[in-house]
Symmetry: C2
Subunit: 126 residues, 2 copies
DNA sequence: ATAATAATGATAACAATTATCGATATTGTA
DNA sequence: TACAATATCGATAATTGTTATCATTATTAT
């Protein structure tokens, strides 16, 4: 039986409030302000729990994991200049369907990570 | 100046020979048979070097990194049943171009990871 | 052959994440 | 409301994947 917890609510709310795809530690530091007793392990625990319930998404961007409270289908771009992870909202152009046809099997979902420069950095660099 | 090394050749050859997208440790164990003195650190070092030269690809599939000696553009699928990472060769359907239009900025590349069941497991499960 | 130095093997260090455990908070039942 | 059962917590140890260090070895140009 899964019980309610203030900490889990806080993690979920904080994550949903922002669009910067924070790491577990960034979330922890942000929450620590209003919840001084919070433990990093609790953040990890609840992130895993929320991911299990499909309420959030984990972005396995290489080294350290980032999290996203927006579960509507969208893609991400890692900016080579500022290092940030930005959202790209667009149609999947039937990618899963096309892949199924090429590959066989059953394809349930997909994630796309783009690499390049975000609009801001792109302009800055010229 | 970068020198030639038997170990780097062995890593590269072994990786190119297979299609199972091994982890660094899997490569290490495989090579250890013919090269008993090999060190895991050497495998990591050379994988990083080869990736830097764009001769191989690192697949940041969540926790532990996997590597691919096939650098022709293609996608991957993680099978929920067997846990394997399989290749999917298909056209990118102008994904980068579409994303650029939606997002602005400059998009250089992208990676796609599908999740589902490979043909073999899909049939097995029914 | 020799000198210069890149690469190696062994292992320590590191960072991110997970497991452990006694204490605390939440929830269903009385 | 009180109580028992237990999920979750905070603190921290342990684990894991990866990188850094360093003395030794292999490769390359001369």
């Amino acid at each position: 039986m899964t019980k309610h917890s203030r900490q889990r609510d806080a993690v979920y709310q904080n994550l949903c409030m922002r669009t910067d795809h924070p790491t577990a530690e960034e979330l922890y530091l942000s929450l620590k302000a209003e919840m001084p007793a919070l433990s990093l392990a609790t953040v990890y625990r609840n992130l895993a729990m929320l991911e299990g319930e499909s309420k959030i998404i984990r972005i396995g961007s290489g080294g350290t994991a980032r999290y996203d409270g927006n579960i509507s289908p969208h893609y991400h771009l890692t900016c080579l200049e500022c290092g940030g992870v930005h959202d790209i909202f667009m149609d999947d152009a039937g990618l899963c369907k096309a892949a199924s046809e090429h590959f066989g099997g059953r394809i349930l979902s997909h994630t796309v990570m783009f690499t390049g420069y975000c609009p801001h950095c792109s302009e800055k660099i010229g």
